[in-house]
Protein backbone atom coordinates (compact mmCIF):
# COMPACT_ATOMS: atom_id res chain seq x y z
CA UNK A 1 0.00 0.00 0.00
CA UNK A 2 2.66 2.40 1.11
CA UNK A 3 4.79 1.59 -1.98
CA UNK A 4 1.82 2.16 -4.28
CA UNK A 5 1.05 5.53 -2.66
CA UNK A 6 4.70 6.59 -3.00
CA UNK A 7 4.68 5.52 -6.68
CA UNK A 8 1.52 7.51 -7.36
CA UNK A 9 2.99 10.57 -5.64
CA UNK A 10 6.20 10.27 -7.67
CA UNK A 11 4.23 9.95 -10.89
CA UNK A 12 2.15 13.03 -10.06
CA UNK A 13 5.26 15.05 -9.16
CA UNK A 14 6.97 13.91 -12.40
CA UNK A 15 3.93 14.88 -14.45
CA UNK A 16 3.77 18.32 -12.80
CA UNK A 17 7.46 18.91 -13.48
CA UNK A 18 7.05 17.82 -17.11
CA UNK A 19 4.03 20.12 -17.48
CA UNK A 20 5.90 23.06 -15.93
CA UNK A 21 8.87 22.53 -18.27
CA UNK A 22 6.59 22.27 -21.31
CA UNK A 23 4.65 25.42 -20.37
CA UNK A 24 7.91 27.34 -19.79
CA UNK A 25 9.35 26.19 -23.11
CA UNK A 26 6.12 27.06 -24.91
CA UNK A 27 6.06 30.52 -23.32
CA UNK A 28 9.70 31.08 -24.30
CA UNK A 29 9.03 30.08 -27.91
CA UNK A 30 5.89 32.25 -28.11
CA UNK A 31 7.73 35.22 -26.57
CA UNK A 32 10.66 34.83 -28.97
CA UNK A 33 8.35 34.52 -31.97
CA UNK A 34 6.35 37.55 -30.82
CA UNK A 35 9.62 39.42 -30.40
CA UNK A 36 10.83 38.45 -33.89
CA UNK A 37 7.44 39.18 -35.43
CA UNK A 38 6.79 42.50 -33.76
CA UNK A 39 10.14 44.12 -33.02
CA UNK A 40 12.21 46.37 -35.22
CA UNK A 41 15.94 46.13 -34.53
CA UNK A 42 18.48 48.88 -35.08
CA UNK A 43 22.17 47.98 -34.86
CA UNK A 44 24.94 50.52 -35.28
CA UNK A 45 28.59 49.50 -35.17
CA UNK A 46 30.92 52.47 -35.38
CA UNK A 47 34.30 51.70 -36.84
CA UNK A 48 37.55 52.68 -35.21
CA UNK A 49 39.09 51.85 -31.83
CA UNK A 50 36.57 53.98 -29.88
CA UNK A 51 33.57 53.01 -31.94
CA UNK A 52 30.26 52.59 -30.17
CA UNK A 53 28.13 49.48 -30.66
CA UNK A 54 24.39 50.03 -30.34
CA UNK A 55 21.64 47.45 -30.39
CA UNK A 56 18.15 48.89 -30.03
CA UNK A 57 15.02 46.74 -30.25
CA UNK A 58 11.83 48.72 -30.82
CA UNK A 59 8.44 47.00 -30.45
CA UNK A 60 6.57 48.54 -33.36
CA UNK A 61 3.10 48.19 -31.84
CA UNK A 62 4.28 49.71 -28.57
CA UNK A 63 5.74 52.74 -30.34
CA UNK A 64 2.42 53.30 -32.09
CA UNK A 65 0.39 52.79 -28.93
CA UNK A 66 2.63 55.24 -27.04
CA UNK A 67 1.77 57.93 -29.59
CA UNK A 68 -1.87 57.77 -28.47
CA UNK A 69 -0.92 59.02 -25.00
CA UNK A 70 0.62 62.24 -26.32
CA UNK A 71 -1.69 65.23 -25.75
CA UNK A 72 -3.34 66.28 -29.02
CA UNK A 73 -1.84 69.78 -28.93
CA UNK A 74 1.68 68.31 -28.66
CA UNK A 75 1.35 65.95 -31.64
CA UNK A 76 3.70 66.87 -34.52
CA UNK A 77 1.95 67.93 -37.74
CA UNK A 78 2.11 65.59 -40.73
CA UNK A 79 2.96 67.15 -44.08
CA UNK A 80 -0.28 67.16 -46.17
CA UNK A 81 1.56 65.62 -49.15
CA UNK A 82 2.78 62.75 -46.96
CA UNK A 83 -0.72 62.33 -45.51
CA UNK A 84 -2.22 62.10 -49.00
CA UNK A 85 0.29 59.40 -49.98
CA UNK A 86 -0.30 57.23 -46.88
CA UNK A 87 -3.12 55.00 -48.29
CA UNK A 88 -0.86 54.19 -51.28
CA UNK A 89 2.06 53.54 -48.92
CA UNK A 90 -0.11 51.08 -46.97
CA UNK A 91 -0.93 49.23 -50.20
CA UNK A 92 2.78 49.13 -51.10
CA UNK A 93 3.59 47.85 -47.59
CA UNK A 94 1.03 45.04 -47.95
CA UNK A 95 2.53 44.05 -51.29
CA UNK A 96 6.06 44.09 -49.83
CA UNK A 97 4.86 41.73 -47.09
CA UNK A 98 3.46 39.34 -49.70
CA UNK A 99 6.48 39.23 -51.99
CA UNK A 100 9.21 36.56 -51.61
CA UNK A 101 12.63 37.28 -50.14
CA UNK A 102 14.85 39.27 -52.51
CA UNK A 103 17.42 42.02 -52.73
CA UNK A 104 15.38 45.10 -53.68
CA UNK A 105 18.01 47.82 -53.98
CA UNK A 106 21.78 47.55 -53.84
CA UNK A 107 24.27 50.36 -54.25
CA UNK A 108 27.92 49.46 -54.28
CA UNK A 109 30.78 51.93 -54.60
CA UNK A 110 34.46 51.97 -53.69
CA UNK A 111 33.85 53.02 -50.10
CA UNK A 112 30.17 52.44 -49.41
CA UNK A 113 27.62 49.69 -49.68
CA UNK A 114 23.87 50.01 -49.18
CA UNK A 115 21.36 47.19 -49.45
CA UNK A 116 17.60 47.08 -48.94
CA UNK A 117 16.29 43.54 -48.98
CA UNK A 118 13.65 41.21 -47.71
CA UNK A 119 15.16 38.37 -45.67
CA UNK A 120 13.19 35.71 -43.77
CA UNK A 121 10.11 37.90 -44.18
CA UNK A 122 11.73 40.96 -42.61
CA UNK A 123 12.60 44.21 -44.41
CA UNK A 124 16.29 44.82 -43.88
CA UNK A 125 18.34 47.95 -44.55
CA UNK A 126 22.12 47.55 -44.35
CA UNK A 127 24.70 50.28 -44.76
CA UNK A 128 28.46 49.86 -44.63
CA UNK A 129 30.53 53.03 -45.00
CA UNK A 130 33.91 54.20 -43.71
CA UNK A 131 32.34 55.43 -40.45
CA UNK A 132 29.97 52.71 -39.41
CA UNK A 133 28.01 49.61 -40.18
CA UNK A 134 24.24 50.02 -39.76
CA UNK A 135 21.62 47.29 -39.80
CA UNK A 136 17.90 48.05 -39.50
CA UNK A 137 15.44 45.19 -39.58
CA UNK A 138 11.64 45.61 -39.63
CA UNK A 139 9.26 42.74 -38.85
CA UNK A 140 6.50 41.72 -41.30
CA UNK A 141 3.67 44.21 -41.27
CA UNK A 142 5.77 46.96 -39.67
CA UNK A 143 5.70 49.30 -42.67
CA UNK A 144 1.93 49.00 -42.90
CA UNK A 145 1.62 49.58 -39.18
CA UNK A 146 3.84 52.67 -39.35
CA UNK A 147 1.76 54.03 -42.24
CA UNK A 148 -1.39 53.32 -40.21
CA UNK A 149 -0.01 55.21 -37.18
CA UNK A 150 0.97 58.14 -39.43
CA UNK A 151 -2.58 58.13 -40.85
CA UNK A 152 -3.95 58.32 -37.33
CA UNK A 153 -1.47 61.11 -36.56
CA UNK A 154 -2.51 63.03 -39.69
CA UNK A 155 -6.13 62.89 -38.54
CA UNK A 156 -5.36 63.91 -34.94
CA UNK A 157 -2.52 66.43 -35.13
CA UNK A 158 -3.32 70.12 -35.32
CA UNK A 159 -3.02 71.61 -38.82
CA UNK A 160 0.38 73.02 -39.79
CA UNK A 161 0.64 76.71 -38.73
CA UNK A 162 0.03 79.25 -41.51
CA UNK A 163 3.13 80.57 -43.23
CA UNK A 164 4.37 83.81 -41.57
CA UNK A 165 3.47 86.97 -43.49
CA UNK A 166 6.19 88.41 -45.68
CA UNK A 167 8.03 91.35 -44.02
CA UNK A 168 6.81 94.74 -45.28
CA UNK A 169 9.36 96.50 -47.51
CA UNK A 170 10.95 99.46 -45.70
CA UNK A 171 9.72 102.93 -46.79
CA UNK A 172 11.93 104.69 -49.33
CA UNK A 173 14.38 107.13 -47.71
CA UNK A 174 13.36 110.76 -48.29
CA UNK A 175 15.47 112.57 -50.86
CA UNK A 176 18.01 114.96 -49.28
CA UNK A 177 17.08 118.64 -49.46
CA UNK A 178 18.32 120.43 -52.53
CA UNK A 179 18.62 117.35 -54.73
CA UNK A 180 17.12 117.28 -58.22
Amino acid sequence: MRNRAATVILIVIGAMIALAVNVTLFAAVVTYRAYRQGTAVVQVQEKGPDGVNLWIPVPVSLAGAAMRFIPKQDLPPVDPQVAAALPTLQEIARELDRMPDAVLVEVESADEWVRISKKDGRLVVEVDDPDARVHVSLPPGALGEIASHLSWLARQAPPAPPAPPLPASPPAAPAPAGSV
Binding site: E91, I92, E95, E106, E108, S109, A110
Partner: protein
Protein backbone atom coordinates in the same frame (compact mmCIF):
# COMPACT_ATOMS: atom_id res chain seq x y z
CA UNK B 1 -20.89 11.63 -66.86
CA UNK B 2 -18.56 12.88 -64.08
CA UNK B 3 -15.38 12.81 -66.22
CA UNK B 4 -16.27 15.71 -68.61
CA UNK B 5 -17.31 17.85 -65.62
CA UNK B 6 -13.84 17.38 -64.06
CA UNK B 7 -11.86 17.66 -67.29
CA UNK B 8 -13.17 21.11 -68.33
CA UNK B 9 -12.12 23.05 -65.19
CA UNK B 10 -8.82 21.12 -65.05
CA UNK B 11 -7.96 22.09 -68.63
CA UNK B 12 -9.00 25.70 -67.95
CA UNK B 13 -6.74 25.81 -64.88
CA UNK B 14 -3.79 24.37 -66.85
CA UNK B 15 -4.28 26.92 -69.63
CA UNK B 16 -4.42 29.76 -67.07
CA UNK B 17 -1.20 28.68 -65.32
CA UNK B 18 1.28 30.48 -67.65
CA UNK B 19 -0.67 33.74 -67.39
CA UNK B 20 -0.84 33.43 -63.62
CA UNK B 21 2.88 32.61 -63.43
CA UNK B 22 3.89 35.55 -65.64
CA UNK B 23 1.75 38.10 -63.77
CA UNK B 24 2.65 36.81 -60.30
CA UNK B 25 6.39 36.30 -60.88
CA UNK B 26 7.46 39.18 -63.14
CA UNK B 27 10.27 41.34 -61.80
CA UNK B 28 11.53 44.70 -63.07
CA UNK B 29 15.31 44.97 -62.95
CA UNK B 30 17.42 48.10 -63.35
CA UNK B 31 21.19 47.93 -63.38
CA UNK B 32 23.39 51.00 -63.63
CA UNK B 33 27.11 50.31 -63.75
CA UNK B 34 29.49 53.25 -63.80
CA UNK B 35 32.91 52.93 -65.36
CA UNK B 36 36.18 54.25 -64.04
CA UNK B 37 38.27 54.04 -60.91
CA UNK B 38 35.57 55.12 -58.43
CA UNK B 39 32.77 53.43 -60.26
CA UNK B 40 29.61 52.46 -58.44
CA UNK B 41 26.91 49.94 -59.28
CA UNK B 42 23.21 50.32 -58.61
CA UNK B 43 20.83 47.38 -58.83
CA UNK B 44 17.07 47.58 -58.38
CA UNK B 45 14.84 44.50 -58.39
CA UNK B 46 11.15 44.98 -57.76
CA UNK B 47 8.15 42.76 -58.46
CA UNK B 48 5.70 44.37 -60.87
CA UNK B 49 3.00 43.89 -58.24
CA UNK B 50 4.77 46.39 -55.93
CA UNK B 51 5.41 48.85 -58.77
CA UNK B 52 1.74 48.61 -59.71
CA UNK B 53 0.75 49.73 -56.20
CA UNK B 54 3.21 52.64 -56.41
CA UNK B 55 1.85 53.77 -59.80
CA UNK B 56 -0.55 56.40 -58.31
CA UNK B 57 2.42 58.14 -56.64
CA UNK B 58 4.27 58.23 -59.98
CA UNK B 59 1.16 59.69 -61.60
CA UNK B 60 0.92 62.44 -58.97
CA UNK B 61 4.59 63.37 -59.41
CA UNK B 62 4.18 63.41 -63.19
CA UNK B 63 1.30 65.82 -62.84
CA UNK B 64 3.43 68.17 -60.77
CA UNK B 65 6.79 68.11 -62.48
CA UNK B 66 6.95 66.45 -65.89
CA UNK B 67 6.44 67.85 -69.33
CA UNK B 68 6.97 66.29 -72.71
CA UNK B 69 9.70 67.80 -74.84
CA UNK B 70 10.54 67.02 -78.43
CA UNK B 71 13.81 68.66 -79.42
CA UNK B 72 13.53 72.30 -78.41
CA UNK B 73 9.76 72.28 -78.37
CA UNK B 74 7.29 71.33 -75.70
CA UNK B 75 4.52 69.02 -76.71
CA UNK B 76 1.12 68.37 -75.20
CA UNK B 77 -0.06 64.87 -74.43
CA UNK B 78 -2.75 65.16 -77.13
CA UNK B 79 -0.13 65.95 -79.77
CA UNK B 80 1.99 63.02 -78.61
CA UNK B 81 -1.10 60.75 -78.66
CA UNK B 82 -1.89 61.78 -82.24
CA UNK B 83 1.70 61.07 -83.35
CA UNK B 84 1.67 57.77 -81.52
CA UNK B 85 -1.67 56.73 -83.05
CA UNK B 86 -0.19 57.26 -86.52
CA UNK B 87 2.81 55.08 -85.64
CA UNK B 88 0.69 52.41 -83.94
CA UNK B 89 -1.76 52.05 -86.86
CA UNK B 90 0.97 51.74 -89.48
CA UNK B 91 2.51 48.51 -90.74
CA UNK B 92 5.94 47.44 -89.58
CA UNK B 93 8.22 50.03 -91.10
CA UNK B 94 11.35 52.05 -90.64
CA UNK B 95 10.46 55.67 -89.83
CA UNK B 96 13.84 57.29 -89.37
CA UNK B 97 17.30 56.29 -90.53
CA UNK B 98 20.11 58.78 -90.06
CA UNK B 99 23.66 57.73 -90.82
CA UNK B 100 26.16 60.47 -90.17
CA UNK B 101 29.74 60.88 -89.14
CA UNK B 102 28.70 61.82 -85.59
CA UNK B 103 25.52 59.90 -85.13
CA UNK B 104 23.45 57.00 -86.42
CA UNK B 105 19.74 56.97 -85.56
CA UNK B 106 17.26 54.24 -86.40
CA UNK B 107 13.57 54.36 -85.43
CA UNK B 108 11.24 51.60 -86.57
CA UNK B 109 8.14 49.63 -85.75
CA UNK B 110 8.89 45.91 -85.66
CA UNK B 111 6.75 42.99 -84.47
CA UNK B 112 4.61 45.05 -82.10
CA UNK B 113 7.45 47.11 -80.68
CA UNK B 114 8.79 50.60 -81.21
CA UNK B 115 12.52 50.14 -81.73
CA UNK B 116 14.92 53.06 -81.27
CA UNK B 117 18.66 52.69 -81.77
CA UNK B 118 20.97 55.66 -81.37
CA UNK B 119 24.72 55.43 -81.88
CA UNK B 120 26.26 58.75 -80.87
CA UNK B 121 29.93 58.82 -81.79
CA UNK B 122 30.49 62.18 -80.09
CA UNK B 123 32.41 62.88 -76.90
CA UNK B 124 30.58 60.28 -74.77
CA UNK B 125 30.37 57.56 -77.43
CA UNK B 126 26.81 56.66 -76.41
CA UNK B 127 24.79 53.72 -77.69
CA UNK B 128 21.07 53.64 -76.83
CA UNK B 129 18.70 50.78 -77.59
CA UNK B 130 15.02 51.03 -76.63
CA UNK B 131 12.37 48.42 -77.42
CA UNK B 132 8.99 49.54 -76.19
CA UNK B 133 5.97 47.27 -76.67
CA UNK B 134 3.23 49.22 -78.44
CA UNK B 135 0.56 48.23 -75.93
CA UNK B 136 2.63 49.68 -73.05
CA UNK B 137 2.86 53.09 -74.73
CA UNK B 138 -0.87 52.88 -75.59
CA UNK B 139 -1.69 52.16 -71.97
CA UNK B 140 0.55 54.98 -70.71
CA UNK B 141 -1.17 57.52 -72.95
CA UNK B 142 -4.67 56.25 -72.15
CA UNK B 143 -5.14 58.41 -69.02
CA UNK B 144 -7.68 61.29 -69.04
CA UNK B 145 -6.51 64.81 -69.91
CA UNK B 146 -2.80 65.32 -69.41
CA UNK B 147 -2.46 62.38 -67.06
CA UNK B 148 -0.28 59.39 -67.88
CA UNK B 149 -1.79 56.12 -66.73
CA UNK B 150 1.17 54.38 -65.08
CA UNK B 151 -1.05 51.67 -63.57
CA UNK B 152 -2.35 50.69 -67.01
CA UNK B 153 1.21 50.71 -68.38
CA UNK B 154 2.32 48.33 -65.62
CA UNK B 155 -0.65 46.03 -66.41
CA UNK B 156 0.40 46.04 -70.07
CA UNK B 157 4.00 45.23 -69.06
CA UNK B 158 2.78 42.31 -66.92
CA UNK B 159 0.82 40.79 -69.77
CA UNK B 160 3.50 41.45 -72.39
CA UNK B 161 5.96 39.02 -70.87
CA UNK B 162 9.69 39.19 -70.36
CA UNK B 163 12.45 41.01 -72.19
CA UNK B 164 14.89 43.90 -72.20
CA UNK B 165 13.43 47.38 -72.77
CA UNK B 166 16.26 49.85 -72.40
CA UNK B 167 20.00 49.58 -72.84
CA UNK B 168 22.36 52.57 -72.71
CA UNK B 169 26.11 52.19 -73.04
CA UNK B 170 28.52 55.12 -73.03
CA UNK B 171 32.01 55.96 -71.81
CA UNK B 172 30.75 56.67 -68.29
CA UNK B 173 28.24 53.93 -67.60
CA UNK B 174 25.97 51.18 -68.79
CA UNK B 175 22.26 51.10 -67.99
CA UNK B 176 19.94 48.17 -68.51
CA UNK B 177 16.22 47.85 -67.76
CA UNK B 178 14.54 44.50 -68.23
CA UNK B 179 11.76 42.28 -66.97
CA UNK B 180 12.07 38.57 -66.19
CA UNK B 181 10.77 35.98 -63.79
CA UNK B 182 13.73 35.95 -61.40
CA UNK B 183 13.99 37.77 -58.08
CA UNK B 184 17.79 37.57 -58.06
CA UNK B 185 20.31 40.28 -58.86
CA UNK B 186 22.71 40.19 -61.76
Amino acid sequence: MKKPVLIVPAVAALLALPALASSADSWLHVKVQEKGAKASTVRVNLPLSVIEKAAPLAGNEWQKHAKIEAGDHGMSKDQLKAMWAAVRDSEDAEFVRVEGTDENVHVAKLKGKLVIHVDDKGSKNEKVAIELPMEVADALLSGPGDQLDFAAAIEALKSHGHGQFVSVNDDDSTVRIWIDGHNGTE
